[in-house]
Symmetry: C2
Subunit: 369 residues, 2 copies
Amino acid sequence: MSSRPLNLRTPGPTPLPPQVREALARDMINHRGPEFAELIRECTAGLKAIFQTQHDVLILTCSGTGGLESAVANLLSPGERILVVSIGYFGDRFAQIARMYGADVQMLSYEWGQFARPEDIAARLERDSRITSVFVTHNDTSTGVMNDLEAIARVVKGAGKLLVVDAISSIGSVPLPVDAWGCDVVITGSQKSFMIPPGLAFVSISPAAWDKSRAATMPRFYLDYAQAKRWADKGTTPWTPAVSLFYALRESLRLMLAEGLEQIHARHRRLRDYTREGLRRAGVELFAPDSHASWTVTSARVPDGMTSKELRGRIRAEYNIVLAGGQGPYEERLFRVGHLGYVAEADLAPVLEALATVLGEAPAPARVG
Amino acid sequence: MSSRPLNLRTPGPTPLPPQVREALARDMINHRGPEFAELIRECTAGLKAIFQTQHDVLILTCSGTGGLESAVANLLSPGERILVVSIGYFGDRFAQIARMYGADVQMLSYEWGQFARPEDIAARLERDSRITSVFVTHNDTSTGVMNDLEAIARVVKGAGKLLVVDAISSIGSVPLPVDAWGCDVVITGSQKSFMIPPGLAFVSISPAAWDKSRAATMPRFYLDYAQAKRWADKGTTPWTPAVSLFYALRESLRLMLAEGLEQIHARHRRLRDYTREGLRRAGVELFAPDSHASWTVTSARVPDGMTSKELRGRIRAEYNIVLAGGQGPYEERLFRVGHLGYVAEADLAPVLEALATVLGEAPAPARVG
């Protein structure tokens, strides 16, 4: 095992800044008292700045998948027809959740590695007027493909439908001005761009989404938006919150606002280019097309004659670098490098070097004939 | 404001031992890797020891209320008749959740301050054979009343019904041998007896409960037991877990097992007696009857001529001690002293002293006539 410090390069959880780690170690307070009221107030204001929204932003104690479920449970009624646009594992998950709750789920699925085409969405919405809402993944972590959400939002809002966005691995690292683009519900998780541990989900809710939720009859209690809002207005949460993660969030939001949203976005775009160039130089075939390559995670094909597990095992054993494998059908055929949150070129350089060395040594695939 | 360190005496969140705070500050790991597999394995084994069970124990990333909801969503089907035994705020919450999901909820409610009588439950079950399951609160934090769960379990299991227990403020501090008493589903939260921050729920599931869950049709995804179990067997969780809280839990379980379950229980019983005696000496009227007084939280009446808020405000301002107020209809009429988790007589002595001083000074209620 390498004696280097761990270099965690999965697309979440991501490494924690020292200020965040210090905050996590703080002792408990009463979540019904004035200190917590000040804490949730500052966290909510910071999140609104990152989401670039005047809408309500709620903080739920659950991970990103709980955030996705919250949208289904709060916005829909059984039998209601929705369109789920899927470009990978997490789009499919959104559909699974909605089906489990009894929604009538229409799929617009793309092959893994492809992006969603706004004109396809427009055509589906025109053909099927019963669709009330469109659920879409901004950046699918499983493929490293980032959709053109601005263009998608234009067609969805143009058709007068509700737009629900899984922004778990995008917002906070890549531009997603919620109000300017007209997104109704935007969901993310704490362990991605926000540089804190997993356990919180953040959800923005437009006035149209609030209207829809008031008529929605899916069962919900723990993840109920109306309860969360009612108690947040009083400076607390309806159920006991993950207090430590609120401490951490306050620190990370201070760091993010000090760096500046444009600077954060520019850094992530730069790191995407840096990672892709480095992998290309190492002879690796990238999975996502240049036009829609994710700013937060780069997916690449494992060379023939090797599994993802073998490749990542060597990188871990020899360099103490943790990469992510593929997901679903691509489990052993892809590896993924996370570059979001608390990350800079200096964290990625050793990764690219390690991959170049290990893959340079990989035996050429056997050719017959 | 007092310069003393904060003495948090709410019934959860509770103060954190230093080992737990240190663990919380650890950097992230991949929740799909070998370190997390070892972490969840040790946490699960420790929880089984505390639950005194051979049943599965699952760790969910949510607070205790999410744990309560998980039981409704995993065990029941719409229209199914259940009996909810309520002695306070949290019994009512269990009923609210089940109603929201469309269960046919029959109530057996007691006045606040009273305990549930096993013979009443037996009579209800005999009268109504359509009831499939009984939901009961072991210790209602809102009133400081602790039910005789062993006797209740005997009648519920004697009638062949499923027994679901809200043990959020009991298990880990008071005896609740899950298998010996025949409890099917037992739910607790991380911020009570387990001395770590809120954000995790722990749920034990008997073979009979597993059978029932396979036939149950309530919608569930994030809180699905079968998914949690399938992934736990592979050393991970289906959705990203609150990794920091797992670090903390491992440390707290080590502390708990080192102290020993019997010793922990004895300490909590002693602290109950210590608190009640101290409050009585201060002239305070206790709310729960001696026979069923909680080992983890003591509720007491605020003297006439004062609100709970006023009393707690003075105790906070002058002594830096945080007490809990009442809940629901008793919001201003009760105050509550938490004595569970990381707590000893030395933490409670200043609380009793402060209350004696402040209440000794309280003006006698005006008497007319």
